[in-house]
Each structure stands twice: as structure tokens, then as C-alpha cells.
């Protein structure tokens, strides 16, 4: 009998074991939901699957009466656009500042303490100032994402840029490269796959900030819808929305991982 630490489940066992807890969760939900609906048929907290199905049908496949839009898709589009812009800008800033502070000692001395300081400020606590600075338009919604994740991205990429072996920087110089060329041909390309990892790590927070921003000022978006129907405790809408957000988050993460493997084989080959 092998020690537990040496025992590997087979393919089928891996799948079965992986799905088991989800199945259990489902059963627990069904039981709890049934019990509550038994006690109060109008209970909204843990709706039956049929109720959620109706809600999905309504949100995704029937045009809304207010705007004639299919709400789920309109919300998804709005939220994904914001997420893309916010994460995109953050990634860009993370890349630029991460490379600059990671590569140039003078830039690091000047900017690192500020970035560390800013990364510790909880953005939700200074909302009024943020909104004054950035208004309440689309910019503000993505701004919260940017402020929320950029310091992390910068610090992570700065770290990664510093981890590039000194040997390679020296090698570049012996090949005649100046500072700009070192950044352009050594640091930047090597940071790119690490940027993708960092973005993957920060996506959870990005979603949180997006949902928070949409609850404050927006007229569509996944977070807005959840905020809006929360006042009526419409869990039949909220739960599918949450599931949908989770799926989207998973899909984005998966796609980024795939892209990175495809685009930067040298990074994944040597790690």
C-alpha cells in the first residue's frame, strides 16, 4: 500500500472527485431552498431552479420593456467593456511604470515609495475625492478598477523586471545596447508574459471594483443590475448573474492562460 502522499488518482477519479463537491453544493442548495419554500412559498432568498430559469429567460431572451434591449447581454457588454478598458489601462500603466521603476534605479528611488503608499490606500474610502477628480461618467467607473489594481500591477512587474538576471542586462550592453534598447529588446518582451500572469492574478479584484463602481453610478452593467434588484431581494436574478460573472471570470482567466502559452512558449518552456 503506497503512502497517501505517493498516490495519484487516475483520470476518471480526478474528474469524479473534482465534480463531487459541486454536486454536494447543489444538493444542499436544493434542500435548503425546498425547506424555505415549504415554509413560505413566496420566499425570495433561495428561489427554486424553475424561478431562476424564468428569470434567465426574461433577462436574456426577452427584450426589456424600458429600452427594448436584451438585458443580460446589454449588461454583459457594458460590464465587459468597462472591465476591458479598466484592466487594459491598468496593464499599460503597470507595464510602463513597472518597467521604468524596475529597470532604472533613479526612477525606482523616486516612484517606488509613492506607489507603495498609494497601494495601501483603500480606494473605497476616498470615493468622494475620486469622483470629483474623475467625474461620474464612464471614466469614473473604470477609474475605480484602475486605482484598485494598478499599484499591484506596478509593484509586481517592477519585481519581475528586477528579477531579470543581471547577466542578461550585461550581455545586452556588451552587444552595444543603450538603456532604451535594453528596455525595448530585453525587458519589455520578457515582461509581457509576466504581465499576463499579473493581470490574471488581479482580475478578481478588478471584478470587485467594477461591481462596486456600477453600484454607485451606472445605468447598465452586471453590477448595476445586481444592485438594482437587490432592493427587492430578487435572488432569482442575482444568483444566475453571479454564476454568469463567475463563468465569465473563469473564461477570461482561461483565455489569458492559453494566449500566454501560445504567444510566449519560451516563458512556459523554461518555467
Amino acid at each position: 500500500m503506497k503512502k497517501l502522499i505517493n498516490r495519484q488518482p487516475g483520470r476518471v477519479a480526478t474528474w469524479a472527485l473534482g465534480l463531487l463537491p459541486f454536486a454536494l453544493l447543489l444538493v444542499v442548495y436544493l434542500l435548503a431552498s425546498d425547506a424555505r419554500l415549504e415554509a413560505n412559498p413566496n420566499d425570495k432568498l433561495l428561489p427554486a431552479f424553475s424561478a431562476m430559469g424564468d428569470a434567465i429567460q426574461r433577462m436574456a431572451f426577452e427584450p426589456s420593456k424600458r429600452s427594448g434591449e436584451y438585458l443580460l447581454w446589454a449588461d454583459t457588454l457594458a460590464s465587459l467593456t468597462r472591465l476591458a478598458i479598466g484592466v487594459g489601462i491598468s496593464a499599460l500603466m503597470g507595464l510602463v511604470f513597472g518597467i521604468v521603476t524596475g529597470t532604472l534605479p533613479y526612477a525606482r528611488a523616486g516612484l517606488s515609495p509613492l506607489i507603495t503608499g498609494l497601494s495601501l490606500v483603500p480606494p473605497m474610502a476616498i470615493l468622494p475625492i475620486l469622483f470629483i477628480l474623475f467625474g461620474l461618467g464612464e471614466l469614473a467607473k473604470v477609474m475605480l478598477i484602475i486605482i484598485g489594481i494598478t499599484p499591484f500591477l506596478i509593484r509586481d512587474l517592477q519585481q519581475r523586471a528586477r528579477e531579470i538576471p543581471a547577466e542578461q542586462v550585461i550581455k545586452m550592453q556588451t552587444l552595444g545596447a543603450n538603456t532604451w534598447q535594453i528596455i525595448l529588446r530585453l525587458v519589455w518582451p520578457q515582461i509581457m508574459p509576466r504581465l499576463i500572469s499579473a493581470v490574471r492574478l488581479s482580475l478578481g479584484s478588478a471584478w470587485l471594483f467594477l461591481i462596486a463602481a456600477e453600484a454607485i453610478a451606472a445605468t447598465e452593467g452586471l453590477g448595476y443590475r445586481i444592485f438594482l434588484v437587490r432592493r427587492y431581494l430578487s435572488m432569482d436574478v442575482i444568483l444566475p448573474y453571479v454564476l454568469w460573472i463567475t463563468l465569465l471570470a473563469f473564461a477570461i482567466d482561461f483565455l489569458l492562460a492559453r494566449y500566454s502559452r501560445w504567444r510566449y512558449p519560451w516563458f512556459h518552456g523554461s518555467h
Binding site: 413560505n40 413566496n42 425570495k44 432568498l45 426589456s64 420593456k65 424600458r66 470615493l127 468622494p128 469622483f131 470629483i132 467625474g135 461620474l136 453600484a215 454607485i216 453610478a217 451606472a218 445605468t219 448595476y224 444592485f227 438594482l228 434588484v229 437587490r230 432592493r231 427587492y232 431581494l233 430578487s234
Partner: protein, 326 residues
């Protein structure tokens, strides 16, 4: 000191008394009136009520919807001279106090009461306690975010709460909920306003005219089914839900009624009660020596410090609407 301008921004948040602004914006009524006075008015929806007032106070908006109490404690106490341009309605059951396992208000004694601290719910609670000879010392106030009140009520930790519609309506649907007090017992004290910056209004009477004109045209659609359906959709409810909310609201759909309400001496008394409550809770700022520190001008006279008037109930534009001069 404000400049004459021709483009303005006003904001509103999702509450039954202010939902008509979205109808007005969506149906072009606001634009129509703005064009009439050669200005632009942008109507912006902000979901977070407090943030909308903060932004107005910080000068990001020229006008904003808010209650009389918040108008006093946020912009006015913050030194932003504000005018209640339109007195839209008062709460007549839209705010209420709910208890579990008891159907009389006295039973609230000793409980933890969940509500949005320092909001009109808090004021309502103070007035309610007053009415049964209790004070805030007899209970514990637990500050709870409005968005979370409904789900909070489902937990056993919560046995008493004060809130407004539509949250109140949702909570009342629960079999455990007993409404023990609501704003219909203090009619006219919780007032929903469209507040604009006084300086901006002085420099740009057109803004006041356009907003007021638009509002009463919108009010003219009150009984249209399209109007009601629109409001219900925006509020993410159905027609019944909307009717429930409207029934608890004393909407002044005729300008005359609003003018009469504003002119009545009761308004001054109400504002005194509100100011005293606010002062007791430190809402007028640490520098405030007494409840009358921030002056409130009403047609019936000034309450408090007439040298520091920052909130003005001015029926001028509503009167113009009533007399068809817009």
C-alpha cells in the same frame, strides 16, 4: 459670483418621488424645456444617493434630488447655498419602522435597530420614539447600508429596522414583518426636493424655469400607463409595486399644491425639528453652536441664523408654473 452659462447638469437617484425625472429625460421633455430657454440640461442617474448629494455639494452638479434633511445637513451645512427649487412630494408612508415578533412600537425598547444612520430613517425613528416617550438611549442604532437592509432582515440578528421604499415594501412582504410606525404619522416632515445651487440659479433663472416647467409637464403624465410602466421598469418593479410606492407618496402633481405646502408655516416648524435633530447628532458640523447655526429661509420666515442662510425654500418658480407663466 456664478457665471451665466448655458449648459447644466442635474442628478437624481432611484426613489419613487424622483423617478419621473428619468421619464422626462427619456421622453425629451427636459430637453424640450431646456431648448425653450436656450440652455442644455443633462440629467444623470446616480445609484448611490449619498454620493449624488456629495457630488452636488462638491460642485459637480448644478442640481440634485434630495430630502429636506439631507439638503440641510450636507450642502447647506457644507456652506453651499442651496435652493429647494421644486418641492415634489412628501413621504406619506414611504418610510417606516418594522419589528419582528411584536406589533407595537413600544416593543422596540432595548433592541438593536438597523437603519441608515443619520438619514431620514434615523429622523423618523427619533420622531417615532418621541411619540411613545422613548429616546435614542433606549435602543442601539446599527448603521446598515441601504442596499443590504432587505437581505439583512432575513437574518435572526435583525429584529428591528427603519427604512424607505422600495426596501420597506419588500420587507413588509415577509410574514415576520410588522410595520409599527410610518411617515404617514408625521406627514409633511420628510420632503423630497429638487435642490439647485442658489448662486447658479440667481445667475441663470432659465435653469429654474426649464426644470420647473419640465417637472410639471411630466407630472401631467402621472396617470398615463406608459409613464407608469416606464417608472416601474426603471425601478425594476412592476405596476403593482410602483402603485404601492406611489400610494405612500404625497406627490404634488399640481404646482398650486406645492406652492401652498411651501408657503405654509408648518414647513418652518418641520425644518426646526429637522435642524434640532441634526444638531443633536452633530450633523451641522463641529463649529455649530446651536441648531439654528445654519439658517433656513421659508416663505413663512427664517429659521435660525439669518446671517448664515444656506437653505432656501423658494416658491417663485413653482408659482410661475402654477400661474402658467413658464
Amino acid at each position: 459670483q456664478a457665471q451665466a452659462r448655458d449648459s447644466f447638469k442635474v442628478c437624481w437617484s432611484i426613489y419613487v418621488g424622483w423617478l419621473p425625472w428619468d421619464y422626462g429625460a427619456a421622453e425629451g421633455i427636459v430637453d424640450k424645456w431646456a431648448d425653450k430657454y436656450d440652455i442644455d440640461i443633462e440629467v444623470v442617474q446616480i445609484n448611490d444617493y449619498i454620493e449624488s448629494i456629495n457630488q452636488y455639494t462638491a460642485g459637480q452638479f448644478d442640481g440634485c434630488t434630495m430630502t429636506n434633511m439631507d439638503a440641510l445637513t450636507i450642502p447647506a451645512a457644507g456652506g453651499v447655498d442651496s435652493t429647494a427649487l421644486i418641492v415634489g412630494d412628501f413621504s406619506n408612508g414611504n418610510d417606516g419602522i418594522v419589528l419582528k415578533d411584536a406589533d407595537n412600537l413600544e416593543a422596540i425598547k432595548g433592541r438593536r435597530v438597523n437603519l441608515v444612520e443619520l438619514s431620514v430613517s434615523h429622523y423618523l425613528l427619533a420622531r417615532a420614539l418621541d411619540s411613545v416617550g422613548l429616546s435614542e438611549r433606549d435602543i442601539t442604532v446599527v448603521n446598515t447600508a441601504d442596499a443590504d437592509l432587505v437581505s439583512a432582515f432575513n437574518t435572526s440578528d435583525v429584529t428591528a429596522l427603519a427604512t424607505w421604499n422600495p426596501l420597506l415594501g419588500t420587507i413588509k412582504e415577509s410574514p415576520e414583518a410588522n410595520l409599527v410606525f410610518d411617515s404617514s404619522s408625521i406627514p409633511g416632515e420628510i420632503i423630497d426636493l429638487m435642490v439647485v445651487n442658489t448662486d447658479t440659479l440667481k445667475a441663470n433663472p432659465a435653469l429654474g424655469k426649464a426644470l420647473t416647467g419640465a417637472w410639471y409637464e411630466i407630472m401631467g403624465h402621472l396617470d398615463d400607463s406608459g409613464f407608469r410602466q416606464h417608472l416601474a421598469n426603471v425601478a425594476a418593479t412592476d405596476l403593482d409595486g410602483l402603485r404601492m410606492q406611489l400610494d405612500a407618496t404625497r406627490l404634488f402633481d399640481q404646482a398650486e399644491e406645492a406652492v401652498a405646502f411651501t408657503n405654509s408655516p408648518a414647513l418652518k416648524d418641520t425644518m426646526q425639528k429637522v435642524a434640532e435633530f441634526s444638531f443633536d447628532h452633530g450633523l451641522l458640523g463641529e463649529g455649530a453652536p446651536d441648531a439654528g447655526f445654519v439658517g433656513v429661509a421659508t416663505p413663512a420666515g427664517v429659521y435660525g441664523n439669518s446671517g448664515n442662510i444656506k437653505l432656501r425654500f423658494d416658491p417663485t418658480y413653482m408659482t410661475m408654473a402654477a400661474e402658467g407663466e413658464l
